[in-house]
């Protein structure tokens, strides 16, 4: 093992070796240590659902265009864009501070939604995409992210 490592380091020191050789050696070096190999595996996401919420529908529409453009430029699979029904919270209260029961006012707070469903992302792609999207989130817009990760079956199932 030490011999191989010695050869690799000697080769790396030389200026005149091709990229293919370096690739071969680096791969063979990882094979020595099985823990290292496991650590290098990236997460796989089957589905990433990003939900944004806001009071202003026009802002969300603009943000939708931004996300579409981003996923197109980054070549990410934006599977579906959904628009769930809005949620309205209403308060019916007296118009005046005190008495005058017959005169009421109704106030309401609206929440509009947009859902972006990305499919088949690797961990690093997902991180990069979310980082970029979140940094460009407008004021007054909240984001919820739901990830569906692919994992191996537990050992007791395999046996």
């Amino acid at each position: 093992m030490n011999l191989y490592r010695g050869i690799t380091s000697k080769l790396l020191l030389k200026q005149s070796f091709s990229i293919n050789q370096a690739k071969f050696f680096s791969v063979s070096r990882i094979n020595f240590n099985s823990d290292l190999k496991e650590r290098d595996l990236d997460d796989l996401y089957k589905k990433v659902v990003v939900q944004v919420r806001g009071h202003d529908n026009a802002v969300l529409e603009s943000y939708k265009n931004f996300v579409q453009q981003t996923s197109k430029e980054l070549d990410v699979n934006l599977n579906e864009i959904r628009q769930p029904d809005r949620f309205i919270e209403r308060w019916t209260i007296l118009k005046s501070r005190f008495s005058n029961r017959k005169h009421m006012r109704q106030y309401e707070m609206r929440t509009h939604f947009r859902e972006f469903e990305f499919k088949h992302l690797t961990g690093s792609t997902c991180d990069t995409l979310l980082e970029y999207i979140q940094r460009n989130l407008p004021e007054g817009v909240a984001m919820h992210v739901h990830k569906t990760k692919i994992t191996q079956l537990p050992e007791h199932f395999n046996n």
């Binding site: 529908n57 529409e61 109704q106 707070m109 407008p138 007054g140």
Partner: protein, 176 residues
């Protein structure tokens, strides 16, 4: 506090989608502006003068029923959304900021104070009319002073964007 959207009436027609509007922004809001009731509304509406001596800027000329249609809010945060957090705290903080800024830049305001929250940053912006040129350095000092003090009080990053105007008449949108 400003995220409350005022709806015109208690009538069930409020929720009816308006088909007549062709503008894409307007179709999103299902307002049914009933002229009969608008006639009786007095909130945010100054008394009409015969000689049109009251000059209004753009924000002032959009009255309360236009909030969410052509006028937007002065505070932008995520507290009052569905499952929003710190509703009362955010409103109280906004009130504190408004009072503080109003006292610090006293008599300089040419517009409303806008407060925008994003991550841990609070962006405060407004238009200012300086009395004379010697106030420029004072304003720079006041911006730094207000940023420092507010960020200590609210425990987050505070940024103040002041934009100056030459004359108050620059902002006049409509005489009323």
């Amino acid at each position: 506090m400003n995220t409350l959207l005022k709806v015109n009436t208690l009538c069930p027609n409020v929720l009816r989608p308006s088909i007549l509007f062709t503008n894409s922004i307007r179709t999103n809001y299902t307002f049914n502006l009933n002229t009969k009731l608008v006639k009786y509304r007095r909130a945010t509406r100054p008394k009409k003068t015969n000689d049109n001596s009251i000059s209004l800027n753009y924000e002032q000329s959009q009255f309360a029923e236009k909030i969410g249609v052509t006028k937007s809010w002065n505070s932008w945060n995520t507290s009052n959304l569905l499952e929003g957090k710190r509703q009362a705290e955010t409103s109280a903080d906004d009130l504190l900021i408004r009072k503080f800024i109003y006292g610090t830049f006293h008599g300089m305001f040419a517009s409303e104070i806008l407060i925008k929250r994003k991550f841990n940053t609070i962006n405060i912006s407004f238009l200012a009319k300086l009395p004379n040129y010697s106030y420029i350095h004072k304003t720079y000092f006041l911006v730094g002073y207000a940023e420092e003090l507010l960020s200590c009080l609210l425990k987050c990053v505070v940024k103040i964007n002041v934009q100056t105007i030459y004359h108050k008449n620059d902002l006049v949108f409509r005489t009323w």
